[in-house]
């Protein structure tokens, strides 16, 4: 499994990171080196082994489905790069 230029472009698009044209090939090489290194896992026999889902045995805690917090929209908006009337403002998404 080798990463080419198109794959870097596709993954960068999925990750929403703009990669300048001159960085695509170097990035492909960097990713290939790391992926080649992690390929060593293929030599481990994992047949019949369940993937780990939780390092510490615990049941996920549950609580009543009630509102326990809130009422400070102003605080939450304080860090927004752009907002209007307690709404986050973004470039137009619907024509």
């Amino acid at each position: 499994m080798s990463v080419d230029k198109d794959t870097v472009m596709r993954v960068a698009r999925l990750a929403r990171i703009a990669i300048p044209e001159d960085r695509v090939l170097p990035m492909a090489e960097e990713l290939n080196r790391i992926l080649a290194w992690v390929e060593q896992l293929n030599s481990v026999d994992t047949s019949g082994v369940e993937p780990l889902t939780s390092v510490v045995k615990m049941d996920l805690k549950r609580r009543a489905d009630k509102v326990t917090d809130g009422g400070y929209a102003g605080d939450l908006m304080a860090n927004a790069p752009l907002s209007e009337d307690n709404f986050f403002a973004v470039p137009k998404v619907v024509e």
């Binding site: 889902t53 605080d75 790069p81």
Partner: protein, 494 residues
């Protein structure tokens, strides 16, 4: 009066209680040493006004006789912990200007115990690194230098600012976080102590997330006792973190008996790795001998999947990071770069906001989670992780703790390893297994390299058995009698 900054946290606590000095005096002494150490770049944000206000309140409580466990003790906070109204950056440009409207559970616990915040400490960007060189705010310099040399060295990472600040006596203790070794490895190379507790011992709420199944916060300080005191204050159940365990927090200070008679100490044979410096192996053998001489039983054990841990980590951690870091989109907080449409805005914001190593890890993580590769990479790595965890479970049937080196070498020079990601990743070879298995692990300074740089030993324990880890480390600390301190060259520079 002796220099208040050279007291241990426990000594300073006792001094405040005895009213030998005030919290304001103690804080002022640390603020002076912080100001004189700017050459180290250990702090991203200094908060002297905040610190003095907290110290005055602490003195008020001392006067009333109403003291918390950390009353008036000045600490540094890794800039990965959200602090209400105080710039919190994760050492990333993407959190430009972010002042959280809330306080992390860990820091809230520390302030409730009376501690004083000196400022926010530098780190690798989003805690991704082992040398503190990936910070948007520039590298941290280690207070340590090789004997007779003035070459700048790294303080380890990702909690590099924490390690440097504690080692240079800018604060009595600091918070760290550890995803693959980020408390223990910098503690080892900076000649201080640091413990990564069991996953679930400390709340992760309000800590900027890197890899949620691996991240755990813990204390860094100059003595084992100081770490024990800080851990007790930091730990505890938190309904806001569903992975935080609802079990009691022991009085860790009481565990520091230094008594290792009958303790079964495992030496994992797979940690003898080709290319490890002779002095690291010698230090490890010396640690085992100290324990044996004091009545512990040394038992060789096998952790057969150790060699695959780093590769599994470099799938699991980037995968979780790519998901966690999806929230940085320029909409709700932090940096925003203008774009022609919303996708263009996202892409430009994230390109400008994330540094090179963070981008690399997000792309690796996105790739291994993408359609067609999930089973081959992510599930495979999680299966290997099950085997690594099982190795430890089998070893802990025979032993109470494991003894290993903390890091594969002493501090290296700034820039020496930054061109080669994999050689950088290898710094975590002895620590990363502990995160994959969710275990507690602690580094304690145990000797100096031939060039006069600190080296650490690591003790690994059973889940939620931090007490035995701390007890073993309290013994090793006494046996090693590590008293070396870096020369304060940075004061001349400032």
């Amino acid at each position: 009066m002796t220099d208040l900054t050279s007291l241990s946290l426990a000594e300073a606590r006792d001094g405040i209680r005895a009213r030998a000095f005030s919290a304001v005096e103690l804080t002022q002494a640390h603020l002076r040493s912080m100001e004189a150490a700017r050459a180290l770049n250990a702090f991203i944000t200094e908060t002297p006004q905040h610190a003095l206000a907290m110290a005055r309140e602490a003195d008020g409580r001392v006067a009333e006789g109403n003291l918390g466990a950390l009353e008036g003790l000045p600490l540094g906070i890794k800039d990965l912990f959200c602090t209400r109204g105080v710039l919190t950056t994760a050492a990333s440009h993407i959190l430009h200007g972010f002042k959280p409207p809330y306080e992390s559970t860990v820091t809230a616990n520390l302030w409730r115990a009376g501690a004083v915040m000196l400022g926010k400490l530098n780190l690798d960007e989003f805690a991704m690194g082992s040398s503190n060189e990936t910070s948007y705010y520039g590298p941290v310099l280690s207070p340590w230098r090789r004997r007779g040399s003035n070459v700048d060295l790294v303080p380890g990472g990702s909690s590099g600012g924490s390690a440097a600040a504690v080692a240079a006596e800018l604060c009595l203790g600091a918070t760290g976080t550890d995803t693959g070794g980020s408390i223990r490895q910098p503690a080892a190379v900076a000649g201080i102590c640091g413990i990564k507790p069991t996953y679930g011992r400390v709340s992760r709420w309000g800590i900027v997330a890197f890899a949620s199944s691996l991240d755990q916060a813990g204390p860094m300080a100059r003595t084992v006792k100081d770490c024990a005191i800080l851990l007790k204050a930091m730990a505890g159940h938190d309904p806001k973190d569903s992975t935080c365990a609802n079990i009691g927090v022991p009085d860790y200070e009481k565990a520091l008996t230094r008594d290792v008679r009958g303790l079964r100490v495992g030496i994992p044979r797979e940690y003898r790795i080709d290319g490890t410096p002779v002095e690291i192996d010698a230090l490890w053998a010396r640690g085992a001998q100290w324990l044996r001489d004091a009545g512990a039983e040394i038992i060789e054990v096998s952790l057969p999947h150790t060699q695959y841990a780093l590769a599994a980590y470099y799938i699991v951690a980037p995968a979780e990071a790519s998901s966690n870091l999806a929230r940085y989109d320029g909409v709700r907080f932090g940096l925003r770069e203008a774009g022609s449409d919303i996708t263009d805005m996202y892409e430009k914001t994230r390109a400008a906001g994330f540094g090179r190593e963070v981008q690399r890890r997000i792309l690796i993580g996105t790739y291994v989670l993408s359609a067609g590769y999930y089973d081959a990479y992510y599930l495979k790595a999680q299966r290997v992780r099950s085997l690594i965890k099982r190795d430890f479970e089998q070893a802990f049937e025979k032993v109470d703790v494991l003894l290993t080196p903390t890091a594969p070498g002493p501090a290296f020079g700034i820039g020496e390893k930054s061109d080669d990601p994999i050689s950088m990743y290898l710094n975590d070879v002895f620590t990363v297994t502990v995160n994959l298995a969710g275990l507690p692990g602690m580094s304690v300074p145990a000797g100096l390299s031939a060039e006069g740089l600190p080296l650490g030993l690591q003790v690994i324990g059973r889940p939620f058995d931090e007490e035995t880890v701390l007890r073993t480390c309290s013994f090793l600390e006494e046996a090693a009698a590590f008293k070396a301190k870096p020369e304060a060259w940075w004061r001349a520079v400032a």
